[in-house]
C-alpha cells in the first residue's frame, strides 16, 4: 500500500466515523423527540379527560343546587300558605262563637269536646268520678249547669259509671275549647284549641298541604 493510499484510507475512515457519530446523534435526538411528543399527547389526553370530568361534576353541582333551591321554594310556599290557613282559622273562632260552624252552635261544639274529654276519663275505669270543666272567661257564657248534667247522665248511662260534671271556678287562658279533669287532678284532658292544634299539627299540616295544593 502506497503512502497516498494510506492517507486516503485514514481520511475516509475519519470521515466515516464523523458521519456515523452525527447520524447516530441525529437519530437519537429524533427518537427522543418522538417519544416526548407521544408522552405529551398522552398526558394532554389524560388532563383533558380529567378536566371534562371536573367540568361535568361542577355542572351537576350547579344543577343540584338549583334543584335544592326549587325544593326549598316549594317548601316555603307550603309553609307560608299553611300558616295562613292556621291564622285564618284562629281568626274565624270569634265568628264561630257568634254564628256557629257548619250548622253547629259554639255551645254544641263545646259540648262535643266536653263529651269526648269526659268519655276519655270515664274509660280509665273508676266506677264513680267527679269531673270539672275549665273554660276561658269568654266561653263561660256558652255553658250551663243543665248541659253539663245532660252530658254526665248520658256518659254515665253509656259507660255504666256514675259521673258528676261541674264547671270549675278556675279559668284558662285560651282562644276557646275546654279542659276536662278529675277533681283530684289526677287525670286531665286538654281540649283547648291551642293544645288540639299542637297535638294534631304534624298530621294536620299534611292534610292542609294536600287540601291547599290539590287542583280541583
Amino acid at each position: 500500500m502506497g503512502t497516498n493510499e494510506i492517507v486516503e484510507k485514514i481520511r475516509s475512515e475519519a470521515q466515516a466515523e464523523y458521519e456515523r457519530m452525527i447520524n447516530e446523534a441525529k437519530e437519537n435526538a429524533k427518537k427522543k423527540l418522538e417519544e416526548v411528543r407521544k408522552e405529551l399527547e398522552l398526558q394532554k389526553k389524560r388532563f383533558i379527560e380529567a378536566d371534562e370530568r371536573k367540568g361535568v361534576e361542577e355542572k351537576e353541582r350547579m344543577i343540584r343546587a338549583a334543584r335544592q333551591h326549587a325544593r326549598k321554594l316549594k317548601w316555603m310556599v307550603e309553609e307560608e300558605m299553611s300558616e295562613k290557613a292556621f291564622e285564618a282559622a284562629m281568626k274565624r273562632i270569634k265568628e264561630v262563637k257568634r254564628a256557629g260552624f257548619k250548622g253547629k252552635s259554639y255551645q254544641n261544639i263545646l259540648a262535643g269536646l266536653i263529651m269526648d274529654g269526659t268519655r276519655s276519663i270515664a274509660a280509665e275505669g273508676s266506677e264513680a268520678a267527679e269531673l270539672e270543666v275549665l273554660l276561658s272567661e269568654e266561653d263561660v257564657a256558652y255553658l250551663n249547669h243543665s248541659l253539663l248534667k245532660e252530658i254526665a247522665n248520658k256518659i254515665s248511662q253509656d259507660n255504666g259509671v256514675k259521673l258528676q260534671l261541674s264547671l270549675s271556678d278556675e279559668r284558662v287562658k285560651s282562644a276557646g275549647g275546654v279542659i276536662v279533669r278529675r277533681k283530684d287532678g289526677k287525670i286531665e284532658v286538654n281540649h283547648t284549641f291551642e293544645q288540639r292544634m299542637a297535638r294534631f299539627s304534624t298530621g294536620l299540616r299534611e292534610d292542609i298541604v294536600k287540601t291547599l295544593f290539590s287542583r280541583r
Binding site: 503512502t3 494510506i6 492517507v7 485514514i10 481520511r11 475519519a14 466515523e17 457519530m21 452525527i22 447516530e24 446523534a25 437519537n28 435526538a29 429524533k30 423527540l33 416526548v36 411528543r37 405529551l40 394532554k44 388532563f47 383533558i48 378536566d51 371536573k54 367540568g55 361542577e58 355542572k59 353541582r61 350547579m62 344543577i63 338549583a66 333551591h69 326549587a70 321554594l73 316549594k74 310556599v77 307550603e78 300558605m81 295562613k84 290557613a85 282559622a89 274565624r92 273562632i93 264561630v96 257548619k102 253547629k104 261544639i109 262535643g112 269536646l113 281540649h191 284549641f193 288540639r196 292544634m197 294534631f200 294536620l204 292534610d207 292542609i208 287540601t211 291547599l212 295544593f213 287542583r215
Partner: protein, 105 residues
C-alpha cells in the same frame, strides 16, 4: 522519502483526530438542540392544556348556569301557580283546620 511519507501520515492522522473532535462538538450541539426543542414542546403542551382546561371549565359552567337558571325559573313559575291554587283552596283548608280543632273530624 520515507520520512516525508511518515510526516504526511501523521498530519492526516491529526486531521482525523480534529474531525472526530468536530463530530463530538456537533453531537453535543444536536443533543442540546433536541433538549431545547423538548423543553419548548413541554412548555407549549402545558400552555395548551391550561387553555383547554379553561375552555372546558367555562363551557360546563355556562351549561350549568343555563340549566340552573331554567330550573330556577320553572320553580318560580311553579311557586306562583302553587300560591294561586292554595289561595283558591284556602277556605276549604281553613274549614279543615276548624273541623279538626272543634273535634268534628
Amino acid at each position: 522519502m520515507v520520512v516525508e511519507a511518515l510526516k504526511l501520515i501523521r498530519e492526516v492522522e491529526e486531521e482525523g483526530r480534529k474531525r472526530l473532535e468536530e463530530a463530538k462538538e456537533s453531537v453535543a450541539r444536536i443533543l442540546k438542540a433536541a433538549d431545547e426543542e423538548m423543553m419548548g414542546l413541554t412548555e407549549k403542551a402545558r400552555e395548551e392544556v391550561k387553555r383547554i382546561a379553561a375552555e372546558i371549565a367555562a363551557r360546563y359552567a355556562k351549561e350549568g348556569e343555563r340549566e340552573a337558571e331554567m330550573i330556577k325559573k320553572a320553580a318560580e313559575a311553579e311557586a306562583g301557580k302553587l300560591k294561586a291554587t292554595a289561595a283558591s283552596n284556602l277556605e276549604i283548608a281553613v274549614n279543615l283546620v276548624l273541623e279538626k280543632m272543634f273535634g268534628l273530624r
